[in-house]
Symmetry: C2
Subunit: 438 residues, 2 copies
Amino acid sequence: MRKKIGIGLLGLGTVGTGVAKIIQKSQGRNPLVSEIEIVRIGVRELNRPRSIELPQHLLTQKPEEVIDDPSVEVVVEMMGGIEPARTLILRAISAGKSVVTANKAVIARYGEEISSAANKAGVYVLIEAAVGGGIPIIEPLKQSLGGNRIQRISGIINGTTNYILSRMAKEGTSYKNVLQDAQKLGYAEADPSADIEGGDAADKIAILCGLAFGGRIERSKIPTQGIKNVEIRDIEYAAQLGYSVKLLAIATSFETKSTNKSSIPLAAWVQPTLVANEHPLSRVNGVNNAILVEGDPIGEVMFYGPGAGAGPTASAVVADILNIAGIHSLGSTNNSLDPLLAASSWRNCHLVEPSEIIQRNYVRLNAKDTPGVIGLIGNQFGNHGVSIQSIVQFDASANDAEIVVITHEVTKGQAMKALSAIKNLPEINSITAHMGCL
Amino acid sequence: MRKKIGIGLLGLGTVGTGVAKIIQKSQGRNPLVSEIEIVRIGVRELNRPRSIELPQHLLTQKPEEVIDDPSVEVVVEMMGGIEPARTLILRAISAGKSVVTANKAVIARYGEEISSAANKAGVYVLIEAAVGGGIPIIEPLKQSLGGNRIQRISGIINGTTNYILSRMAKEGTSYKNVLQDAQKLGYAEADPSADIEGGDAADKIAILCGLAFGGRIERSKIPTQGIKNVEIRDIEYAAQLGYSVKLLAIATSFETKSTNKSSIPLAAWVQPTLVANEHPLSRVNGVNNAILVEGDPIGEVMFYGPGAGAGPTASAVVADILNIAGIHSLGSTNNSLDPLLAASSWRNCHLVEPSEIIQRNYVRLNAKDTPGVIGLIGNQFGNHGVSIQSIVQFDASANDAEIVVITHEVTKGQAMKALSAIKNLPEINSITAHMGCL
């Protein structure tokens, strides 16, 4: 019999328990699962009641003991948060152990440091669970789509906000009410800011960007707009125009034939966005996620599935463990890494200025209900080189008109200039919403 | 500099040319692409005009020369058809060379023979392009979903029939007219039988079945119903009831806790099927494919994209070449295979009798337009233990009524018994359509 591959878990919450359950009951799964053995588990409390039976001697409150245990070949980090997760991941790497982690916050911020340490040590750091929950997206980007020049990624990659927007659309209930209910049901956290302000989606698009375009970008420079200001009326107007409203994370290449190849210009942003009903992302509802990848020569492929939850996330974590186990079983001794699986940066990339982002815009305006106001708005857009796809007046209160404009593609800089001129028109009370449009 | 990995192409049609183009222009793709070198190409004609420039000395009309060339490490078979493809694949394996193939017909029929030869020789046979065109589905099933117990796969995996059904639905045009037009446009072949009779989809579901459930099934025993008899009126009635009609290939596990584990019972079939509008497969139109995988603990994931075409297929072929190149670069010397990538059968599976297939049914009946006929039909279904979800009379000609029944889930055996009793009722003229329903 082949020697089993020893793994050490850091964290035994819902995901950790899910992983342990898969490994404990390997029957009916890929036979390689039965060659994995949990040999040590770092937990916060030793005696908490758990939904899984595990030999008590596996548990320890000292995560370092998990890493330093010589029978642990792979360290599986499922603690979340920046510290001590980052330090423990680096410690595992120094100890010559491959790491599997679901920690998007650490990878989005310290990916460079972690990946270069891993390459130096000749170990893998695999992160399938960090983006899209159970959906295979990291591995396809690293391997299955490797022959392509990726041009664009657009994703619904935060389950909480997609759940909230889906329920707002379905029930016509306000953002606040749905959020409160989502918190009660466990779909949103007590402090939901990382989700609803778009930070979680920005973490994830930063990670996808690195894999798709081959170079890291500065996470902190990603323009990020959350869903707090999305109103029911925006969702309703969008529906009347044939769109749904989704929080999208988008990354796109600005590379052209004349680009200076020393650093590839990219744009990446997170924003509530109108998605046309025919678009494959428009039907992705509830806590589901979906990632659309556009590349040459493949065209468009989409990956869809549960973006969160213990089971799906555990599935992704086990996939990474299996990948390492598969490679280990080759018995390679020269300490080299499979470059596809290791997937380090291979060129420099940088983010363009936010004003250079190109997209269609959805703008809602509150105007005085006077004749000719639509013409005035149209003229101002035109004067600033922004061409309009549609401009519609929706019903509003006594003296005010609610006007919705959808523009053609234009740089953010141009759109903002046009809007600031429009804002100064005496007939305009305020610009009440501004979102993207696919 | 690392030595490049030499590959030999068998076939330089549209897919072969697509593969060569990716490798020739590696800039902007995964850096491993630049480590692949085409060293020999087997073609039918040496001097045909081609859309790609290649050194003439690479070409040969003798495919054996490609295989036997000592600088060829990986043989890429893109000839199609059963022979000589099968023999050449086996010859490459005997020569100790890994094989990449897009040949679903060979793999569905001779997969067992090829895979056991490959395992004995310690080489890989990779087949990402054989199912779903460019969509990554083979690799996710082998690797990313390996922690799951797969319960079911449902796929739109034939682009030609999906194109025809989509156009029938959109334009209200008959099957015959759309087929003729599809042939003119190159979306259907001159002899379209493999596509429209469902054989191509059956080949592909046989392959997916082996990967998802870990054991081979007999390709020839898959019940297969094509789209020839799908009428415009079926598509219209389905739309009125909230469904679209798709040619689905389905494979599902019948394993329960009490199943004798010496062989796992599966069902697999190909059939035109009504798909509810809320279902993620319902919006997959044109030549696109999509495969929905259900497993424990992941739940449902779907893979969507272009199911055919030179570019997408070439993308999948290159993915396989990269995977082999990545492993080769590890320099493992003990001739062992990564068990995830090699993915041989690991248990016995068998197909249950077609009569045991469980599904909902769509049935269209032509009946005499007499009072009580709906009650009679309902009673007959009830007498045979088939419960009905809906039964609707649609407009029809002078004396005849057109009645559409959608049943709840029931075995095919029971459904057929009920239908044969209904057919014998004097009030029933004929059973005019019978499809599945999701």
